[in-house]
């Protein structure tokens, strides 16, 4: 099965010297980085100023340092954590998606398609139903467990667990497992009458109720996951050449897959436990970024992190404009954005299983 999407990695003569060179244009990378940086800064300023009450940006410096009046307090305690969390969650999910597509050698692999997010949500909601006071670190660990269990089950159901699963079977198995887990989650929510406020949050995903505590809970795992992923860029590039080639170049393919999967679980589990299952980020961001900067993971992973953050941040901003004061969860916006891209990817499938 071909794994190439967008620009295919080109093994050149250098490959023989265990350093496969992947053609990427430095200029495009520079432009993409610049655009993303501008989008992050603009999104931050836009995101903190709008909401049920518009707040002038002149309050921003005050909010960062002392928070004297009510405007500055709103900025500091409500708007800023929300924007920061959107960036963090997007980065985590997008990088997880890129890792997953590399590890599974499958263009339709993504945390939300493979049931990983739904698994994390189910276990967290189950735990909260049993122990209502649960929050913070234990929730995240449980979320890891749910994500891992769901991901592994779907991989096994779709075929052998060795990365040779057809995209279609993976998608069908994953989406069905997701809908099953979401149904079970809904059953739990029906039983737990106190949870109706956060129903949409757990079913759709969003950063509506974000606080600094959420950011603090997510941050260590995010840093760990991102650094781990960036460190794996070279092995992942080798993996993209195909298992045989990667082995021939001295790569421990199984270990790379295992490490990559663990990082996916860490990133998704942590993101989902604080923000719910924000749809399609892990699927669409890596595909868009690959189009723009090529498929070298050295540049792809950092740009995916920035791109995912930007996407969730702007989805959240759009969600606030829909009908204030009622807010559409960001997950709805990303699902509406992601569906056409999924259709595009599905149309490209030549498989006829």
């Amino acid at each position: 099965m071909s794994v190439s999407v967008g620009t295919a990695p080109q093994p050149t003569d250098d490959a023989a010297h265990r350093r496969p060179k992947i053609v990427t244009s430095k200029q495009r990378v520079a432009w993409a980085s610049l655009v993303l940086l501008v989008l992050v800064v603009a999104g931050f300023l836009w995101g903190v100023s709008i909401g049920s009450q518009h707040i002038s940006l002149s309050h921003l410096p005050g909010a960062i340092f002392k928070a004297d009046d009510s405007d500055e307090l709103i900025l500091q305690s409500i708007r800023m954590p929300r924007v920061v969390l959107a960036l963090c969650v997007g980065a985590a999910l997008a990088v997880a998606g890129a890792l997953m597509q590399a590890v599974a050698a499958n263009p339709l692999a993504a945390p939300e398609i493979m049931g990983v997010n739904a698994g994390a949500v189910f276990v967290v909601v189950l735990a909260i139903t049993v122990v209502p006071s649960l929050s913070g670190a234990p929730t995240i660990l449980l979320s890891f467990g749910g994500a891992a269990a769901a991901g592994v089950s779907v991989m096994l159901l779709a075929g052998s667990g060795r990365g040779r699963v057809s995209p279609v079977r993976l998608a069908l198995a994953g989406v069905t497992a997701s809908s099953l887990l979401i149904s079970l989650t809904q059953v739990l929510i029906i039983f737990d009458e106190n949870s109706t406020d956060s129903v949409l949050f757990w079913l759709v995903g969003g950063v509506n109720f974000a606080g600094w505590q959420d950011v603090r809970n997510l941050l260590p795992w995010l840093v760990l996951g991102l650094l781990g992923a960036f460190a794996m860029a070279r092995p992942l590039n080798l993996l993209a050449l195909g298992d045989d080639m990667a082995r021939g170049l001295g790569q421990n393919v199984e270990r790379t897959r295992m490490l990559g999967s663990v990082l996916v679980i860490v990133l998704c589990g942590a993101a989902v436990s604080v923000a719910g299952p924000v749809a399609f980020i892990g699927l669409i961001v890596p595909h868009i970024m690959r189009r723009v900067v090529g498929s070298s993971y050295t540049v792809l992973l950092p740009l995916c992190a920035a791109g995912g953050g930007v996407l969730v941040l702007y989805a959240d901003i759009v969600s606030r404009y829909v009908k204030p004061p009622f807010e559409v969860p960001a997950g709805v916006v990303t699902a509406l954005l992601g569906a056409p891209i999924f259709v595009y990817l599905a149309r490209r499938q030549k498989v006829s299983s």
């Binding site: 069905t176 129903v199 829909v322 009622f326 807010e327 569906a339 149309r347």
Partner: protein, 342 residues
């Protein structure tokens, strides 16, 4: 790999069903009737069997009879109508698309109809349920057409239909949630409608669904042979004098209409249209004249079972029947997927 090989594996085991389909079909029907009568007494308010029988036989004066007639009976009747509609719709789609994975859920009808219904309900508050059915119908049809068009690229392969269906369903699902938040009624009540429930449905809901089932299902049964002919492949079917494309589109239209009518009344009940036809084919073989009525009976049994579990597991809490069918149907679908892949 198609369903025929699954069927083939079971020929020996099911030879009785093949030789005497009427006997087994009759037993299934009897089972459904018995389950219906039993389910009349399940629910938040327990009614004794004596009272149920009493009410059925004629005495409609006391409170128990009121519960049976106003709350329980409409639900049981709806289980029959909706189970039949979804299962027959799925059987036709699987026959026409010639793919065991085709079903109203997969081609987007369920979510599209849910979206259409919600849109009208929110646009015109207090609109009578009569008007919701055409709205849901339009939504379901639009979604199915969209899936077909988007999947079409030098022909629409079943696999692309399935994948595009997933995406279109996700978009309509997002649309439904968007509508929910724009008009935040009672969120949990709306969610229960969306997951598919027969809670609080009255006789008028029965009358909404009845004409669709009464008209379309017999029509489809009469056309069962056309489905068999289509199953031979386009060339052979055309050779036998069947206007293939026309028949296919008409049958698909009927299937979409049935599914949309069911969703309009009961919300998005998943997986019944997928698994009931499978069970029917496994037991009764691939001939549609037998497998379609059988699918309807399996659909009815599934709905009765799901609604009963929903009512009886933790009264007075209601678990929507759609959640039960998803919890049962999801694993079955995965099992099919594993099986067809070998």
């Amino acid at each position: 790999m198609t369903s025929t090989s699954i069927v083939a594996q079971h020929v020996r085991r099911t030879s009785l069903a093949k030789r005497h389909p009427a006997v087994l079909m009759g037993s299934l029907g009897a089972l459904a009737v018995l389950l219906s009568i039993y389910s009349l007494k399940v629910g938040a308010t327990q009614v004794s069997f004596g009272n149920v029988l009493h009410a059925l036989v004629g005495d409609k004066s006391d409170q128990a009879a009121a519960i049976v007639f106003d709350f329980q009976l409409p639900r049981v009747l709806l289980c029959w109508l909706i189970g039949t509609a979804l299962a027959v719709s799925g059987a036709v789609m699987q026959g026409v698309i010639r793919n065991p994975l085709a079903a109203p859920d997969i081609v987007g009808v369920t979510k599209g109809a849910g979206f259409g219904g919600m849109l009208l309900l929110l646009a015109i508050p207090g609109v009578p349920v009569v008007a919701v059915v055409p709205a849901a119908f339009t939504g379901g049809l639009a979604a199915a057409a969209l899936v077909y068009l988007l999947a079409y690229r030098r022909g629409a392969t079943p696999v692309r239909i399935a994948l595009v269906g997933i995406a279109v369903s996700a978009a309509f699902e997002a649309g439904i949630r968007f509508l929910l938040v724009r008009k935040p009624l009672d969120v949990s009540a709306a969610l229960i409608w969306l997951t598919g429930s027969l809670f609080g449905r009255s006789m008028s809901a029965v009358l909404e669904t009845l004409p669709w089932v009464l008209v379309l299902v017999p029509l489809i049964v009469v056309w069962a042979r056309k489905l068999d002919v289509l199953g031979l492949g386009d060339d052979l079917a055309a050779g036998l004098g069947e206007p293939v494309e026309k028949t296919r589109r008409l049958l698909l239209l009927f299937a979409v209409a049935l599914a949309a009518a069911a969703v309009a009344v009961a919300g998005t009940i998943g997986f019944v249209g997928l698994i009931a036809p499978h069970m029917a084919r496994r037991v009764f073989g691939g001939k549609h004249l037998a497998s379609i009525p059988a699918a309807a009976l399996f659909g009815v049994l599934l709905m009765l079972f799901a609604d009963m579990i929903g009512r009886g597991l933790a009264p007075p809490l209601e678990i929507p029947a759609g959640l039960v069918t998803a919890v049962v149907g999801g694993p079955y679908f995965l099992y099919l997927l594993v099986k067809t892949g070998k």
